[in-house]
């Protein structure tokens, strides 16, 4: 069945919306309204969705297909369609459970074991019943595997999946303790980095011979404060870098690490949110431009410090100043004349850039600058209207996503040649439902699906 042009007025109710989708006969509109349809309407929609195998295959693999439609497709007696449903990230827990109960193919069970929506109870059944290494490994890596599931894996398979168990966020302190005792250095490192790692093991890990284990322990957010100072003087830079990223680092240690011999360590210090004036003073003249770039993003910089960094020889540093929310208009004015496009684009993106600077930048030809001007809520409406005529789709999309763009500015973009720009207008709050309904027979399936989904949500509330 092919899409028919709609001659109906905008639907006012869920029933009318479903009727419009049925009249259109398009699989994407039908999929979008399936969730709000009544039983009789659903039967009609199923005929559209599943009438042709090609269409059913297409929907079964499409990542936007609603879960309730995937559940219908899973019920079809077609292995190729079911395979796609199992792979589809949108397939929900109950559908996966039904598929698991209905099959004995190891490949398909493996897909269920790794799916992000498979429930802990299904994973529990899998690890109790299956012995395939690939399937158990997939289950052991699944974030939904509970500690009980992981305990069964350990009980059934010994140390075979220690790497997966040590890395799984649901592993309990007891499991981790056993893993540390029997594991190799890599397993011990994963245990040391784990938030459930027992404190006694962390104490052992920070004194380990292998630097990988020490580095992982140093990165553990539950590391006792008393050990931060101990590791801040570690001879290996990767350990000191991990300490520099710790939330609970004292000012004294941060100052010490700000003078570290390793660029990598100073970069991490420079990226901290809690920089003091003294530490900024240590880092602002750093020879490494990455360090200066991170400092330039700090909200703690004074106007003089921002001025200094705005004149930095490295363009990435100047760009960081342009992105800094504390940068005053006169510095933004200076940076708006920067020879590097990337710096001027950052000025155009900056929410504090005044309209007069944006008006100047709007006369540029560089797409990065123009797209940012188009997206900036401070850009005058007349300029936005001019930019809707840009030949560059990215610039027009900037207007589409501009939070201050008015209805009369946006309306011409409903006929934008680039489908993504039309699609993004569907969710825009300043356009009326009547404006949006003009997209109901859009030639692009993703636009139609997005529109019918938007109307479905309105009528569902």
């Amino acid at each position: 069945m092919t899409q028919q042009p709609l001659d109906t007025a905008m639907p006012e109710t869920a029933t009318e919306l479903v009727e419009a989708a049925v009249e259109q006969g398009d699989i994407y509109s039908a999929a979008a309204v399936f969730g709000i349809a009544d039983k009789k309407q659903r039967d009609t929609l199923k005929a559209i969705l599943c009438g042709r195998r090609r269409d059913a295959l297409k929907l079964a693999r499409w990542e936007h297909t609603p879960a309730e439609v995937l559940a219908v497709l899973a019920g079809l007696d077609d292995d190729a369609i079911r395979l796609r449903v199992e792979k589809n990230p949108a397939t929900q827990s109950q559908t996966l459970a039904d598929l698991f109960n209905d099959q004995d193919s190891q490949d398909l069970i493996g897909l269920v074991a790794q799916h992000g929506h498979t429930s802990a109870s299904v994973l529990f059944t899998i690890v109790e019943q299956v012995s395939s290494t690939a399937i158990i490994r997939a289950a052991a890596r699944n974030p939904n595997a509970s500690n009980e599931v992981l305990a069964v894996i350990e009980a059934r398979f010994g140390n075979k999946f220690d790497a997966e168990l040590a890395s799984h966020e649901n592993s309990s302190a007891n499991i981790l303790k056993r893993l540390y005792q029997r594991g190799n250095h890599f397993v011990q490192a994963a245990v040391a980095a784990h938030v459930h790692c027992p404190q006694a093991i962390l104490e052992q890990a920070v004194r380990h011979d292998d630097v990988i284990v020490v580095r992982h322990a140093a990165a553990n957010p539950t590391l006792p404060v008393k050990l931060l100072g101990y590791l801040a003087g570690h001879p290996d830079y990767s350990v000191r870098r991990a300490i520099a990223s710790q939330q609970r680092l004292s000012t004294t240690l941060a100052r010490e690490l700000a003078q570290d011999s390793s660029d990598y360590v100073r970069r991490v210090v420079a990226a901290r949110q809690d920089l003091t004036a003294e530490i900024i003073g240590l880092l602002i003249h750093d020879a490494d431009h990455w360090v200066r770039q991170w400092v330039a993003l700090s909200s703690k910089l004074s106007e003089q410090e921002l001025q200094l960094l705005a004149e930095d020889e490295d363009k990435e540093v100047r760009r960081a100043v342009a992105r800094n929310g504390k940068t005053p208009p006169q510095l933004l004015q200076l940076l708006a004349r920067d020879k590097q496009t990337w710096v001027r684009a950052a000025v155009a993106n900056q929410p504090n850039t005044p309209p007069e600077i944006l008006s100047v930048l709007a006369d540029e030809e560089e797409v990065d600058v123009l797209a940012a001007v188009a997206h900036n809520p401070n850009t005058p409406q007349a300029i936005l209207q001019r930019l809707t005529h840009s030949v560059l789709a990215d610039v027009r999309r900037g207007v589409v996503t501009n939070k201050a763009a008015k209805r009369e500015t946006l309306l011409p973009l409903i006929e934008d040649p680039f489908y993504l720009n039309r699609l993004l207008l569907v969710g825009n709050p300043v356009l009326s439902p009547e404006d949006k309904w003009r997209l109901s027979d859009d030639p692009d399936p993703a636009v139609r699906f997005t529109l019918f989904s938007w109307f479905s949500r309105q009528y569902q509330q």
Binding site: P5, K58, A80, K87, A190, A393
Partner: protein
């Protein structure tokens, strides 16, 4: 003045596709159809010549294929092509690229264009021979892999820049009318306007059959083809090893492999 643009609706593979029982092709349910990418550039080149020209230029797109091909032809109409021709008779089933070239040459003899554009190749079969076959059947000059073109409608010569292997370029002067196969990147294809798409949906597409072209059934189809598919299959996959372990262990193993590869370990 007229430019004929030969286009093809190509098939791309869906995930986890299946081969047909006769093992000659992929099961059609697993194929997605779209306009051949190269042909999008050919059409754009014709459209830009038309738009730059002081004289009237007609851009006609032509494709050989069953009903579904109309979708691709309508895309071309939506982008501004003046007319579309779909050529099909059941006897054409199984035609290879040379035979399709023969059919398109017959269309050209009727349309009498001043220039013919075709894509360098199609993304599904990659024979890169249809455009050249058209030139051969018409006994017209041709040049392939055109990455730049200087042509004024009505002129008896055109200058084409060609892409050669090893990063070389070649500038070729060619007598017109000629057949040019157009390379990706020669221009930036436009998006069809929404209005253009809606207007294209209502435009007629000329349907031309075997008899309209004065060709016989013996000249087209599988029996006339110079090549035929004996078997379609999925080649055996090479060996791969999954690197297992914790993230740090995987990184260490990967670093070791790289060192060994570089001869450092």
């Amino acid at each position: 003045m007229k430019i004929l643009v030969a286009v093809k609706e190509v098939a791309s593979l869906d995930d986890d596709f299946e081969i047909r029982d006769d093992q000659l092709d992929v099961d059609e349910d697993f194929l997605l159809y779209e306009l051949n990418e190269w042909d999008d550039f050919s059409l754009e080149e014709a459209m830009s010549i038309k738009e730059r020209s002081d004289t009237e230029v007609e851009v006609v797109v032509v494709s050989v294929g069953p009903d579904r091909v109309e979708e691709s032809l309508r895309k071309c109409l939506a982008k501004g092509a003046d007319r579309a021709i779909r050529v099909w008779s059941d006897e054409m089933e199984g035609s290879d690229s040379i035979t399709v070239g023969r059919i398109l040459a017959a269309v050209a003899e009727q349309e009498k264009p001043d220039m013919i554009f075709a894509g360098v190749q199609s993304s599904d079969n990659a024979d890169a021979s249809t455009g050249i076959a058209i030139a051969s059947y018409l006994n017209w000059p041709h040049t392939a892999v055109v990455a730049g073109l200087d042509y004024t409608p009505g002129a008896n010569k055109a200058t084409a820049s060609r892409e050669l292997e090893g990063g070389l370029g070649q500038e070729v002067e060619i007598s017109c009318p000629a057949v040019l196969t157009i390379q990706l990147g020669i221009n930036t294809p436009r998006y069809a306007s929404l209005r253009g798409i809606k207007q294209a949906a209502a435009k007629p597409i000329d349907e031309v059959s075997l008899s309209d072209l004065g060709l016989s059934a013996e000249e087209v189809g599988a029996d006339a083809a110079f090549s035929r598919v004996r078997r379609m299959y999925i080649p055996e996959k090479g060996m791969a090893t999954m690197i297992e372990g914790t993230t740090a262990e995987q990184a260490a193993k990967l670093a070791q492999i790289i060192k060994e590869f570089k001869g450092e370990a």
